[in-house]
Amino acid sequence: MSSETGFDPALYARFPTRAPRPDEEKEELAHIWCAPKGWDYLTAVNNSYIGLYYLGTAFLFFLLAGILALLMRVQLAAPLMEVLPQAVYNQVFTMHGTVMMFLFAVPAVEAAGVLLLPQMLAARDLPFPRLSAYAFWAYAVGGLCFFASIFVGLAPDGGWFMYPPLTSKAYSPGINTDFWLLGIGFIEISAIAGAIEIIVGVLRTRAPGMSLDRMPIFAWAMLVFAAMIVIAFPSVILATLLLEIERAFGWPFFDAGRGGDPLLWQHLFWFFGHPEVYIIFLPAAGMVSMIVATVARTELVGYRLIVLALLATGFISFGVWAHHMFATGLPPMTTGFFSAASMAVSIPAGIQVFAWIATLAVGKPRYSAPGLFVIGSILIFVTGGLTGVMVAMVPFDWQAHDSYFIVAHLHYVLIGGMVFPLFAAFYYWIPSISRRPLSDRLGRWVFGLMFAGMNIAFLPMHLSGLQGMPRRVSTYLPGQGLALPNLVSTVGAFLLAAGVLLFLVDLVRNFRFAPGGGTAGNVHDAGTLEWLPTELYSVRSIPVVASREPLWDDPALAARVEAGRYFLPRSATGLRETIVTSPLRAEPQYLQILPGPSPWPIAAAIFTAGFFLALTVQAYGFGLASGLFAVIAVLRWLWESDRRVAAERVDIGAGIEVPTYVTGSASHGWWAMVILLIVMGMIFVMGLFSLAFLWSNQPSYWAPPPAFRGAVPILLLDLAAAALAIGGRRLLLRGAAWPVVAFVLSTAALGGALWLDRGQWAAAGFAAEASGQGAAVFALLALQGAAVATGALMAGYCAARALRGLVTRPANTSIDLTMLFLAYAAIQGLVGALFTRAVGA
């Protein structure tokens, strides 16, 4: 055995401990992690609550978007129906797609992660509980406001992909489109927050000994999921920002008449949009891998191949975005790259499918409801995958693209790849959070109705597509043979809905929320840690993990965990806490103090919602105030964090001592900041790409940029800012005031560099409204402006903490993170100044 951190793995042999643990420890844990009462439910941050709220809200959106789908199917049941007028239909299909993709699918899998991961990893909670709470409330409040737009006829009607120029001010003058940009704004914030939470949670809060090769597949899937969000969402963040700026201020990013390009939107949107499909699919595939093993009563065959498949999907899915653009006139060689990558991405999917089949072959499958849903999901997903390979062929896609063939394909992929696994997961995991399991008998009916309904609804759509029925049509003319397949589809849709309705009946009859104690327990006889007996504090003691299915390999584990014979059988500090472990081998590193319930995350979320809503209805004063309050609420919640506790080192069991406060690159805060900076960096890189893309596609609108000469003082200032930031952190040894002074100077240097940069572009005659080039350059400068402003805010926060004596020496996390941010901002400014001058020079 070798070590990653210097921790001696031989120490694991001290567990399980022998000495009996006093009962008071358990009482203290229960007291520290007590359940909310009354209004406390709003301030709860524990993953058991936030995860369930999250999942419930996501499922509500599934039902709402499903009702919209039924309305559409009624309208399309026969040719030339008039159930929904054209204008309403256009809103309904836009909302169906948007809500299903953004407000149901991503939040639902993210919610499953929040709910299940800590238990699966035997952590007490996720590392940033308040961030989870904020992400949830922002999503819930914003999502519901967004959905409400359909009741007042102000719902977006440009399709979920929102292609400009249809969505530009000229062709969509109403605020409908702004509602979309608002709704997506929330989900971007909440998805990124969730991703940070999940990456740090999976890599740093696993039970000791749970090396990467012993991690539950679901955790692997969530890790890849979160990493993909970090890379993919910045693209749509930038795209929505640019479109909103174009609509509000007339900067022509997508206006071909002024040197913009509508195709830029498509690149930015699909660079997010296609990985999005895998972002939805991978966690569900992770669920299937977990459930298959339990249902087959054997360990997963090909574990490492599945891990590889998850990773490979994560990578290759970033090379397929333009297969949504095969008909836009891309040159054949370019479409060929995307065609090849689209084929390559089916290989990992095939590996997973055959691994599931192999697992079923080895084991003795039980045909319980989760088992049926898993088998059904494999069949449906494979069908969708095969049509996926078909449309990866460019010439076939030219015919199938934007027709009902694609509608069929994508629903097979998403329903087989995500909805069925999610229902399998409901039937599988609900016993771990509810006093009663769901009814297996009803579950079979739910499965039967949904499986039959799904196929009856979507199989005929392959045909109607080949018959020439385009997507997003509110009606169709008779005499094309479309009436019959459409009628069949409508019948199928209602069967599918009947299945979902029956599930709701089952839920109402049997679901009794019991976070922690008193759950139905391990009814499926599963082997992973989430089936250990838990309370609100998760497990009584955190076990040493020696295999992938610890409960199968060590039947006595549950009892020993409950008896407190492993790590952290008590609260070492009297606070909420969890063990932070190393990323590869999960060796214990330090004890993280977790924040408890707080009203500030929900307050911040409500003000964030107010900010976006006010912008949508153009109440700028109210919006500004809301934004300000949101920032204050976030700072207020952060204020209580980053504190040392009295005991610098504590015993986390069997005499193993770890520190309670760690700074630098090993700390969870540092990791979170680095991930946030990757997000910012991706937004910036996509901005740079936008500039280069416009230059390459609209050369006639290009003007020579300012000379490189002018960039020299900008570079010097940015370098100085970076040096001050890094030096400031070192100076903390000398006193808390030094880094604050250095940070303020660093921010000033950043601001100066930005001021110079902006001035040179303005002096060279560029204006943001004048051309695509001007718009892109000033958008990059605005991004840098946002970074500088945030840096200034962080410097001010450090100053306030220093004044209050909260900046402890010799090292302090707040100082670390501010240093990282300022150094990043300096690099961003420097790269931007050089790149903008290089494009078209």
Partner: protein, 125 residues
């Protein structure tokens, strides 16, 4: 019953035919003719001006809705609503009602007859 109707129609047709020698000779108004008439009306796009029962689009608003046409006593408020005149009217309205907005529409004899049969089969629900 259907047979009787056919007989009555045939007799009526003969009588009417005597009065209007230039008109199209009507034929049986059976279910097949009604169905053919409905299809012909759709094919010709009558919906561009008239809302037609059991066809949701187009629902033209220029001319009167055709729902319950069989119950109406008059065509365009001026002509007795009988199969022969109706068949003539749908093909060449201005010839019978000079001020109408409905143009003459080229169609075959059978189409005109079928459409008339279909129109007269429309009753208020």
């Amino acid at each position: 019953m259907a047979r009787e109707e056919v007989m009555i129609a045939a007799v009526g047709t003969l009588l009417l035919g005597a009065c209007h020698p230039a008109e199209i000779a009507p034929h049986d108004a059976g279910a097949a003719a009604i169905a053919r008439g409905r299809d012909a009306a759709r094919r010709l796009g009558c919906g561009a001006c008239h809302a037609m029962p059991d066809s949701a689009w187009p629902k033209g608003r220029v001319g009167p809705a055709l729902d319950g046409f069989g119950d109406r006593a008059m065509i365009a408020g001026q002509l007795p609503n009988d199969p022969v005149r109706l068949a003539a009217f749908v093909r060449d309205a201005p010839a019978l009602v000079p001020g109408t907005a409905m143009p003459a529409i080229p169609m075959r004899d059978e189409d005109a007859r079928d459409i008339a049969a279909w129109l007269q089969s429309l009753h208020e629900q």
